[in-house]
């Protein structure tokens, strides 16, 4: 505790509860929400804080996710710190407004509890929902566990609201696997300390500033639209330095230090596995199994999928001969899954073999042994003992 400035307390929380707890500490002005499994418990927990008067949040219980994002945009445009939360089809329904939130430069925060997109309808985890929003102009932080959910949400406000960024932030957690699993989460004991870390909200624009009327969302044609898109690129380009700064400040405060990627035994690794979200925990177990077998295998977790940490991934993979990228979603018709496509771009021109593995769609479990076996086959590939297609599946009945 010596290096920590504030008191912390350990709580047993599910991912959804950890998210709601962080949001309670953040104390946003407005939330507009609509129920969808597995996001519902986050909403329940937050509504209980509202009912107890623990937050100043004005709740808008809307009639759809489309209206959830629309009302959140309205609230943020009116100078409120605002959030919503959703999953899968809910995110798909709000898709149109997800883009508008980013282009209006409103630093909304949205936990997305990852769930497979319909159809067929399914309520369990994969990343098809948030991957569908990867080009929407939001910052995306993937969480491995409840602790990361709590920490990332507190950081999310400060990142998005930074004047060099002004972008909405999506914090994703794997449906059921994280959202409904109780874990020990270390939290900032006093809400004031958490609120002080986030800081008071100073909106860059507000519809309620009636003395300085603004027109938001005008028709933007051939003469300006392109430049405005370029400004969004600029914001995304500014984001990594701000994220690093916020993570560093959070590390100082809590002792929990994050980076945009997390390296696990990669330094001397010849084979590196990569994944997002809760699977990273399973993959790290598999790495330990393989290390015990004498194989130089590591794992690289990507925390910020947007902006994608190209430089950090390239650096982390500099010693690797073979990389196996695990994707929990499919980009139909593309050669690789979304994560693998980004990794290919990051290591472009490097002498490294890359293989993509699709796994876990619709919430299918992934086990340590399956990832360990994947690691072994990648090792065999490196030694020239085995060939592997560019993309294959883990845990699929063919």
């Amino acid at each position: 505790m010596a290096d920590r400035k504030i008191r912390q307390v350990k709580l047993s929380l599910t991912g959804n509860e950890a998210g709601a707890f962080a949001l309670k500490q953040a104390n946003p002005d407005v939330a507009a929400v609509f129920p969808i499994t597995p996001q519902t418990e986050l909403m329940h927990a937050f509504s209980a804080y509202v009912a107890d008067g623990a937050v100043n949040t004005e709740m808008v219980y809307v009639e759809s996710e489309h209206s959830a994002m629309s009302a959140t945009v309205g609230a943020a445009a009116a100078g409120a710190r605002a959030f919503t939360a959703t999953s899968a089809n809910g995110l798909a329904l709000m898709w149109e407004i997800v883009y508008i939130a980013a282009s209006l430069r409103l630093p909304i925060v949205m936990p997305v509890i990852n769930r497979a997109l319909s159809g067929p309808i399914n309520i369990h985890c994969d990343h098809s929902d948030t991957m569908g929003a990867r080009d929407a102009g939001w910052i995306q932080i993937f969480c491995e566990n409840s602790q990361e959910v709590y920490d990332s949400l507190l950081c999310a406000f400060r990142i998005g609201e930074n004047k060099k960024v002004l972008l909405p932030v999506m914090v994703t957690l794997d449906g059921f696997i994280i959202s409904h699993t109780t874990e020990v989460v270390e939290t900032i004991e006093r809400d004031e300390d958490a609120r002080a870390f986030i800081g008071p909200y100073e909106p860059w624009i507000s519809l309620l500033d009636v003395d300085n009327p603004v027109t938001m969302g005008p028709l933007d044609l051939q003469d300006y639209y392109f430049e405005h898109k370029r400004q969004q690129v600029e914001a995304m380009t500014n984001a990594p330095a701000v994220i690093d700064e916020v993570f560093a400040a959070y590390g100082e405060l809590t002792g929990r230090r994050y980076e945009r990627v997390e390296k696990y035994r990669t330094d001397d690794a010849e084979v590196v596995l990569m994944s997002l979200g809760s699977t990273a925990g399973t993959a790290k177990e598999a790495v330990d199994v393989l290390r015990d077998e004498g194989l130089a295998v590591g794992h690289l977790k990507v925390r910020t999928f947007r902006p994608f940490p190209f430089d950090l991934v390239r650096e982390a993979l500099s010693g690797a001969k073979v990389v196996g990228v695990l994707d929990r979603s499919i980009s139909f018709g593309a050669q690789y899954g979304p994560l693998c496509t980004e990794v290919m771009a990051a290591v472009h021109g490097k002498d490294v073999e890359i293989r993509n593995f699709i796994y876990g769609l619709g919430g299918r479990d992934i086990f340590v042994e399956q990832i360990a076996e994947t690691g072994r086959s990648l090792y065999d590939l490196m030694r020239g003992k085995k060939d592997l297609p560019p993309q294959s599946y883990i845990g699929l009945r063919e």
Binding site: D29, V30, N56, G74, M216, Y224
Partner: protein, 321 residues
């Protein structure tokens, strides 16, 4: 309570001139009247549509008040968020102004794609006024039929062919749907009777809770009549009782204008290209059907006025007495 038009005329325009509406646009006239009637501060949200496009082509804006356009179907949801922010920040002592909230949408953005969002906002009871400027088709995208397009009217998607003559369905009774939410105030209006329109805007804004107004706004481009006849078209719609002017306050109906000599519907329809086929030999039944429907609605409305005097349904937002 009645507006003093001369006094209102001295106020600065909240919707500046120089916007890019078509010559003869009824909606821009109504919009200007509505904004003129507003007293105090106001924040406006707009659905995608004609008036959104013509007033805010970046880097220009005709709006002298805070304005947000989000998308097509969510003007009511967007103002819900703005109003929720207002309530939250006011409760926290971060703002002290009193602000009115008006959400606008065309008929496409209100009768059709935005109906769910409007219904949700009415049910939640946000303190705002929703104004539909009803020009009876998707004019902004090229005159396609909407749920508001009247029976028999020709549009780009309901043309008059050799077999099918214009739109086969009736205009959706939108104000009835809104009233079914138990809202404290709803009204129809027309820009030709601007005193009535502005009175209604002021009354609506004086009442706490969700309010709805449906304003008929002629569109010479879509209805096919001469640009300088716009206001006349709106007048004829009212004189024929095709567009009755009425208001419902806490469940009590009041017809705010009763024509001395109710004109037959053809006096309105005959000026408009979209109804031209009504007057071709063999199509007499269209006119008859139309007249019958208008008469029935008008009689129902007069009956409701009487009935609701004796049986006022206060709705769901009436303050306790």
């Amino acid at each position: 309570m009645a507006v003093n038009v001369r006094k209102l005329a001295e106020k600065p325009e909240l919707l500046a001139g120089g916007h890019r509406a078509c010559a003869g646009c009824g909606a821009s006239v109504a919009l200007r009247q509505i904004m003129r009637a507003v007293e105090g501060h106001v924040v406006v949200s707009f659905a995608t549509g004609c008036m959104e496009v013509v007033t805010t082509i970046y880097p220009y804006t005709a709006w002298r008040v805070p304005y947000i356009h989000n998308a097509f179907e969510n003007s009511a949801a967007t103002i819900s968020g703005v109003e929720a922010a207002y309530r939250s920040l006011k409760r926290q002592g971060k703002i002290d102004r009193d602000i009115n909230f008006i959400a606008f949408g065309g008929d496409g953005g209100t009768y059709d794609i935005g109906l769910q969002s409007l219904s949700g906002a009415l049910e939640r009871g946000h303190n705002f006024l929703y104004v539909c400027y009803d020009n009876e088709a998707y004019m902004n995208t090229g005159i396609q039929r909407s749920g508001s397009t009247p029976f028999g009217a020709a549009t780009s998607t309901t043309p008059v062919g050799s077999k099918i003559k214009g739109k086969q369905q009736w205009k959706k009774p939108l104000i009835d749907i809104c009233l079914s939410h138990g809202i404290p105030y709803a009204a129809t209006a027309s820009p030709h009777n601007y005193v009535d329109l502005m009175n209604k805007v002021q009354k609506a804004l004086s009442i706490e809770g969700p309010k709805f107004m449906n304003v008929m706004t002629s569109c010479n481009r879509g209805w096919h009549f001469k640009a300088d006849d716009s206001i006349e078209m709106n007048r004829l719609a009212v004189e024929t009782c095709i567009w009755p002017l009425f208001e419902v306050e806490y469940g009590v109906f009041k017809v705010t204008y009763k024509p001395r000599n109710k004109l037959p519907v053809e006096e309105y329809l005959k000026h408009q290209g979209r109804f031209k086929h009504f007057f071709k030999p063999g199509n007499e039944h269209l006119l008859e059907t139309y007249q019958k429907n208008v008469d029935a609605r008008w009689e129902w409305l007069l009956a409701m006025e009487e009935f609701s005097k004796e049986h006022p349904y206060g709705g769901l937002f009436k303050p306790a007495e």
